[in-house]
Subunit: 159 residues, 2 copies
């Protein structure tokens, strides 16, 4: 699999999150051998848990499977620019490469605002590749919020 | 109870974390009526979970008890300046007031580095009160790391 296939997996997880009424963001953790070791979409509403972003759930699942707080040699694919919480978790878990899709000027914490990886207080920064299948990731979010606003033309089954 | 008593509760949780071999940081969530609704210390090693900081565990427990992603009117007491992950979770949970102890120039994300609350991408910032029982919080951390380094003079039972 190449990086576009992994991002398609993350987009599938985002669509599944949207169908559950969650903000459609998805994430996939890929191991050193190229295997998908965890895949998750947002579940903050379902779990009543403000930390249950796709990235956090995928990283926690991968860490639990490995029995380790750290995932050296693992990569993360996520459909949206991570927020500061998720960026910090990516750093703590020692993720090697971060591939993300849509930019998030409103709430992002990698290329915007807190820019978590850009300070000496961040002790590990992944390689960052942005804009991967960004149009697809963004379209999912736009459709979801249009549907939520009752703006018409949107259908929950699209997610 | 006043704010110093709540911080003593957080220091107790930090000591208990140190006894478990975890970095001794503790946190307490206080509800609108002044009741302690959650109390936690770090468990990142025990749970193999890089997100299991004291603040995250306490907020997740309070949210689970309340069945809500948000904790309006709740305050958080923590013995050390929160990292960027924890600062973002404090924001997401809509914590009203953050009281913290020791400053963390190396890894903090409130008064240092990412300064999570200081950007327009942060949609809720708590009132922040720092330096509460800071000497006690810092002494616990110093003692723990001295013991870890085998520097002598320290005793795990001190935690």
């Amino acid at each position: 699999m190449n990086f576009r296939s992994y991002m398609q997996d993350a987009l599938d997880a985002a669509r599944a999150a949207g169908k559950r009424g969650e903000v459609p963001v998805g994430a996939v953790v890929v191991g050193p051998g190229g295997d998908v070791v965890a895949k998750a979409g947002n579940r903050t509403r379902e779990l009543s848990d403000p930390t249950a972003h796709a990235e956090v759930l995928a990283i926690r699942a991968a860490c639990a499977a490995l029995g380790s707080e750290r995932l050296p040699g693992h990569d993360l694919y996520v459909t949206l620019e991570p927020c500061p919480m998720c960026a910090a978790v990516i750093s703590f878990a020692r993720i090697g490469r971060l591939y993300y899709g849509a930019s998030d000027p409103k709430s992002g914490g990698v290329a915007h605002g807190a820019r978590v990886f850009s300070h000496p207080q961040c002790h590990h920064a992944p390689e960052v590749y942005d804009g991967i299948a960004a149009a697809e990731g963004e379209a999912l979010l736009r459709g979801f919020f249009a549907y939520k606003r009752g703006g018409g033309g949107s259908d929950p089954e699209q997610f």
